[in-house]
Subunit: 241 residues, 2 copies
């Protein structure tokens, strides 16, 4: 299982993922699901992946090879074209593997979140479906999730606002959303990879890998839980009837 | 879809449910999923139901008929026996309907939560599985959920404590847990039926049906959301790296 999310507000982007993979056909316990493509000063992409590890590795490998040649994400004229480029590679890998997988009853399973910025445009956040088509985060829907998304959704629904949420706040929302998910589903686990990006930075200076015992995570969790209980106490009581 | 939950702490029980049913074979939009069986001064049962409406209706009907005759829940010697009585009716309805349903590819789908108290014992909270077997809430796991349970779980995980959470607090947790779920899944909807029970009351004096516009619900939600955002702002910032 996997849980990844991206938040886009006026103040920038936060992208974060867990690192747990189930044993199974992939036989790997921990893997990085956050991938970056950077041309300093000019363009930045962060890609989060969920689904079959074999499929996501293939897509990232093809994107990497292309990027190294100055093509694909390295030369996309705008972010929509970049999202289409990622979706194109999803379709290429589907051509390579889908028939063989489905013959053995295995679905073609990949979802990606792509966030970043190309100079001359604002920052963007997209979801790429297994069919390769893109979906953009909007002012009304300022976050996107892939994988085990239900546990971590209410705190984002209640808290994240496109015009108001700062990059520092979005970082806390993302970590608490993943922490809630890890707590409720053992198949989502640390370390947490996280990137925060402010518009026009064109590099990834705010980036961390947080283990389960990282004090930034444990302190955030314990503060949040004690404050949550304090707030519940302080809310007006509900008269029944 | 459905979401129901029960919370058991030292201070008592809170049981709550949404009221949405999907159209489909049952063709009903709203139905009560909270059922009560009371012998004033002696025993109290609250049953929450999820799954096929046809199946849950049959189980509740059989329990009602038995209760009216002074049998079943009306005469169970202790709460474990009462939970077994409910599970027995689940098995009876399975005998009646399961084969016919499965012949058309429809699963035998029912989950129940049973809370209450029989004089001479403490208050109890059980989950009854579709197979009829019971599971009891414990000090370590002081809440039980059925139906669309993921959205509403983190706030319970983080906040509810068997030795500490008051009945008034448990009421707020239950309402916020359902409210989070309604917000994220349109198939879970108001009104919310809720009962709070303090040990040794042996009646249901704290009971309400809250519509979507009930000020008790809308005020709780708006207070919670503004406090949540304030708390996130106030938490120590997370340095990356």
């Amino acid at each position: 299982m996997t849980y990844c999310l991206g938040i886009k507000t006026e103040a920038g982007l936060v992208l974060a993922s867990d690192s747990r993979t189930n044993a199974g056909i992939d036989q790997v316990d921990t893997c990085r699901k956050l991938h970056t493509f950077v041309t300093p000063g000019e363009r930045v992409f962060v890609i989060l992946s969920s689904g079959s590890l074999s499929i996501t590795q293939s897509v990232i490998t093809l994107l990497d090879e292309e990027f190294a040649r100055g093509q694909g994400l390295a030369s996309a004229v705008n972010f929509y074209a970049a999202a289409r480029c990622v979706g194109g590679h999803v379709r290429k890998v589907a051509e390579l593997d889908r028939t063989a997988l489905e013959r053995d009853g295995i679905g073609f399973n990949i979802n990606l979140i792509v966030g970043g910025q190309i100079r001359g445009e604002e920052h963007h956040l997209y979801l790429i479906y297994p069919q390769g088509n893109p979906l953009r985060a909007t002012v009304e829907s300022p976050f996107l999730q892939i994988g085990e998304s239900k546990y971590g959704r209410p705190i984002l629904d209640r808290g994240v606002r496109h015009h108001e949420t700062t990059l520092e706040e979005a970082t806390k929302y993302a970590l608490l959303s993943i922490d809630s998910t890890m707590r409720s589903n053992m198949a989502v686990g640390p370390p947490i990879d996280i990137v925060a990006y402010a518009p026009d930075e064109f590099d990834l200076r705010r980036r961390a890998r947080l283990t389960a015992s990282d004090p930034r995570l444990t302190e955030l969790r314990s503060h949040w839980e004690s404050e949550l209980r304090r707030v519940i106490q302080s809310l007006p009581s509900v008269k029944l009837p």
